[in-house]
């Protein structure tokens, strides 16, 4: 079995997402598709999967040309895709999610649940997979949800499995188990296409590597014929800028202290959270997204109620103070979802640099705003942070993801506040912007700010943090200080199912 993509070109209005690309996939092979965010990996696969019918070029299945009319068409030919954002309905059971679209029904259309249960259980046994079919998807762990997605593909007799960033949400342990399943699929002569940006995993599991950059195929070769360094360089296309690692001093003064904090989360076994951050220190919270990091940040910012415990900022108890109070006292926040939480995206650039600072004399007189001053300030930020935008009057929507994030970072870091909370700041943006933002974070740390950095990228924590904790299912691990084994220590704590029973006064 072989799939060939020939001369594929995809255009979205003015943007060329894929440029004249040709690739081949063979059975029994794990083919890794790597590249930066925006390189075109997902776009390319959406064509193969039948989600995108707007392209030029050919798809050949065993030398025969095929044209999909819909995803159903592709599915019927044995193509299955597990998306980065799961296509599951939380409110339904595992079983309902699996059979969606392929329901075994009687003449009137009513589903024969009993019959199909036995069928699927047999399938699970074949691949040695454990799953409770009656469980609601919302109660599953992320790794289990992903397994449901894969069972869906097996149920539909997929011969080709396209997996979009499957290990982004898995712990190292879960990743190993996942790879074991993949190797089983290889033995069944399936074609496996792995979209990923984790080069380490590419080196350990794949047979073939293809690198995309800006919609073009840079190189496609067997794993044995290339090296990790080669791949990294081909992804970026140029040398990565080196960060100026000016460290600064960490004072003894504790800026933020969280004591025995209990939150209402969906994790049943969560323990009270304790942590602190000193002046001039970057504390990293490592761990896969969805383990309670977001809830913790929300409670520190004051948008989530706490069940018990306290939060102290600059030695003041702010546990029950409003978000407004906390922000005015000096907490900055760079959110993960810049489009929803970080910006008013339909407004103009200059309208997005004024939040609580609007009350400053610099920007307003009484109820009236000083537009000129605000626009000047916006220009200042644009220049200082090299934000690519026409002028402060432009709509934020015209900016790329990386520049939008730079705008948020610019606005928040320019306050020079004592405490800065940062959540996955470089998610989904280009490498150049990532390096820039990392440097700015280090600069502000050197000026004495205390920074709480939540990130699911180990690289980011390793580069920026002075110490780190790992968060898993609402629990915080013991503090790990930066030394030569920083990365390994964090990674080992991220093994699944760890019960953090140690004392956390590290």
């Amino acid at each position: 079995m072989k799939i060939s993509l020939r001369d594929i070109t995809i255009d979205y209005d003015n943007l060329r997402a894929i440029d004249d690309l040709s690739l081949e996939f063979h059975e029994g092979e794990i083919h890794a598709l790597v590249g930066e965010n925006g390189a075109g990996k997902s776009s390319l696969m959406s064509v193969l999967y039948g989600l995108n019918l707007n392209y030029s070029g050919k798809i050949l299945f065993n030398e025969k040309e095929i044209i999909w009319s819909s995803p159903k068409d592709a599915i019927q030919h044995g193509i299955g895709m597990v998306h980065q954002h799961f296509m599951l309905i939380d409110e339904l059971s595992v079983l309902e999610n699996i059979i969606l679209g392929y329901e075994p029904d009687d003449a009137l259309g009513f589903i024969n649940f009993a019959k199909i249960q036995t069928g699927i259980k047999a399938l699970l046994k074949l691949y040695d997979i454990n799953m409770n079919l009656g469980e609601l998807v919302t109660n599953l762990s992320v790794a289990q949800k992903q397994m449901v997605e894969i069972i869906k593909l097996l149920f539909r007799n997929a011969k080709v499995l396209i997996l979009d960033e499957p290990t982004a949400v898995l712990t190292p342990n879960e990743t190993e188990m996942f790879f074991k399943t993949l190797r089983n699929f290889k033995l069944e002569k399936k074609i496996i296409i792995l979209i990923t940006h984790k080069i380490d995993e590419v080196m350990s599991i794949s047979d073939h590597v293809s690198i995309l950059r800006n919609g073009k195929l840079i190189n496609s070769s067997k794993l044995k014929q290339t090296t990790k360094k080669n791949i990294e360089e081909q992804i970026v296309g140029k040398k990565l800028p080196k960060l100026n690692l000016r460290r600064g001093i960490i004072e003894e003064k504790k800026i933020l202290e969280v004591n025995s904090l209990r939150l209402s989360t969906r994790f049943s076994h969560s323990q009270p959270i304790d942590l602190f951050i000193k002046q001039g220190e970057i504390l990293g919270i490592a761990g896969v997204s969805g383990n309670g990091q977001n809830e913790l940040i929300e409670s520190i910012l004051g948008v989530r109620k706490v069940l018990s415990g306290s939060i102290e900022y600059l030695q003041e108890d702010i546990t029950h103070k409003s978000t407004r109070y906390r922000r005015i006292k000096g907490i900055s926040f760079i959110p993960q979802d810049r489009r929803k939480d970080g910006l008013a995206i339909k407004s103009k650039v200059w309208e997005n640099v004024i939040t609580i600072n609007l009350s400053d004399q610099k920007f307003s007189i009484g109820p009236f705003v000083k537009k000129k001053s605000i626009k000047n300030y916006a220009n200042q930020l644009i220049n200082e942070y090299s934000i690519k935008v026409d002028n402060p009057n432009s709509s934020v929507l015209t900016m790329s993801g990386g520049n939008m994030q730079k705008l948020v970072v610019a606005r928040e870091l320019s306050n020079n506040f004592p405490l800065i909370i940062i959540e996955n700041p470089t998610w989904g943006i280009d490498v150049g912007s990532i390096a820039f933002i990392h440097q700015k974070i280090l600069d502000i740390k050197a000026k004495g700010a205390a920074i709480l950095l939540v990130s699911n990228e180990l690289d980011e924590i390793e580069v920026l943090a002075d110490s780190a904790v790992v968060m898993y299912e609402g629990k915080i691990s013991k503090r790990i200080t930066k030394d030569t084994k920083f990365r390994e220590n964090i990674a080992s704590k991220m093994l699944s199912g760890v019960h953090f029973t140690e004392n956390i006064n590290g």
Partner: protein, 303 residues
Amino acid sequence: MTEIFDPEFFSSIARLTTPILLAALGGSICHRAGIFNIGLEGFILLGAFMAVLGSFFANSAFIGALTAVFGGLFLSIIFAEFHLRRKGDPIVISIAINILALGLSTYLLRSIFKVSGVFSHPEIEKIPHIQLPIIENVKILDLLINDQSILFYLSIVIVFILHYFLKYHKFGLWIRVVGENPEVLKSSGINPVRIKFLVLLLCGLLCGLAGAQLSISNVGLFVENMSAGRGWIAVVAVLLCGGRPIPLFLLIILFGLVDSLSLRIQGLGLPQQITELLPYIVCLAVLIIVSYKKLRTFSRIIY
């Protein structure tokens, strides 16, 4: 006391519950399918007018019910065209449909029947009632659910059919999926737009019947703006119950009860406006209680 809770009170409950229930059932299918249809008021109104139109000209209540359904379907198609095909905002469309139905029904009342305000005529056939011989002997049941319009019994049956349909039928599953995440349905190879279109048609059908119940069931006439806010009560009921048929049924019985109570109280000398206000106050009260309880369970602070 006995003046209020007389036999008339009990037998009115079912009659008053039916139109709201039918419309709310239509609304809840829309809700489960992720269609924010708050135009039930307009659907009912046009249905009520079309029922009188059909019943009068064809001398048949059945035709009247049929034309009522056509009225509902007409609005469904409009909703579908501007929301599903042109991607318009469903709330704006709902408001437009409410206004459209009001204008259209009044205009047609005046241009076809050449009257203003009310059209009443002995030739308007009314929907027949059903007598259940078994129930006659049980006094309280006899009062409550005997000798009611066909549509009342139909609405009860639909409550249960809808409940099982959503749970166990293929199409019911698709409706639930399209309401939670249409992308998922699409990636399983099913066209979400087609599902939503059928849902809208079902809603139009049910709301049309709701209108028929209003105008050609107990009485045989059409009054300008006859739906008189019942569509909005149905909307609130749907929101409060999350589109689940059985809780919806119970809640609307409560509203029917209050409606009946307000009618009885009018006879006691309280001013008409205050008694008419009663159902809305109760509706508001229930809304506040349920919303507040829900708010307390939220961990996130929204405002």
